[in-house]
Amino acid sequence: AQSVTQPDARVTVSEGASLQLRCKYSYSATPYLFWYVQYPRQGLQLLLKYYSGDPVVQGVNSFEAEFSKSNSSFHLQKASVHWSDSAVYFCALALLSGSFNKLTFGAGTRLAVCP
């Protein structure tokens, strides 16, 4: 069965610093991979997604993620964070076939950006 692991439950960075949120997945083939963000008292919103091709994908608000098949990872990055980036970030995967758009989510990483 597929799974998603986000090893860091909480990350704290200073405003203007760079950011990496880690995501590891377990699946025998290449899945669809996603990063969603959840701002306080809101639902999840898509940041970016990867299907195939260039392993570096660009998303909204200058976020990007890099897919690594050899490491089974899909880490989220941002060069310079803003206080408004404080939120919970979820990595997720969907299978290319079979389970019809059934997403498996990681437990989430809570990001706190300090002034």
């Binding site: 290319l96 019809f100 758009n101 059934k102």
Partner: protein
């Protein structure tokens, strides 16, 4: 306007009472979902609906049932709520094919006492 709307947003129920959570979407999406979110567990899929009257169990369906009589509307029903069903419930919708973006509602916080 690409919106998923959940009602009610907050609900307190006694153990054993019935609970109805409602979800609507204005995007004519075929697929709709109910997830629950608990601290440290991320989102867990309760039920998925592929279209009207075409529902499938997700990973944690026990204690829940769903109803989808119109494409735009998807209900989650708890018959005889239990305290361990205290959670935040999210509805989402997407176009049918795998890998498409899910659009989420703002969540319904249920407390069962």
């Amino acid at each position: 306007d690409m919106k998923v709307t959940q009602m009610p947003r907050y609900l307190i129920k006694r153990m054993g009472e019935n609970v109805l959570l409602e979800c609507g979407q204005d995007m004519s999406h075929e697929t709709m979902y109910w997830y629950r979110q608990d601290p440290g567990l991320g989102l867990q899929l309760i039920y998925i609906s592929y279209d009207v009257d075409s529902n499938s169990e997700g990973d944690i369906p026990k204690g829940y049932r769903v109803s989808r009589k119109k494409r735009e509307h998807f209900s989650l029903i708890l018959d005889s709520a239990k305290t361990n069903q205290t959670s935040v419930y999210f509805c989402a919708s997407s176009r049918g094919n795998s890998g498409n973006t899910l659009y989420f509602g703002e969540g319904s916080r249920l407390i069962v006492v």
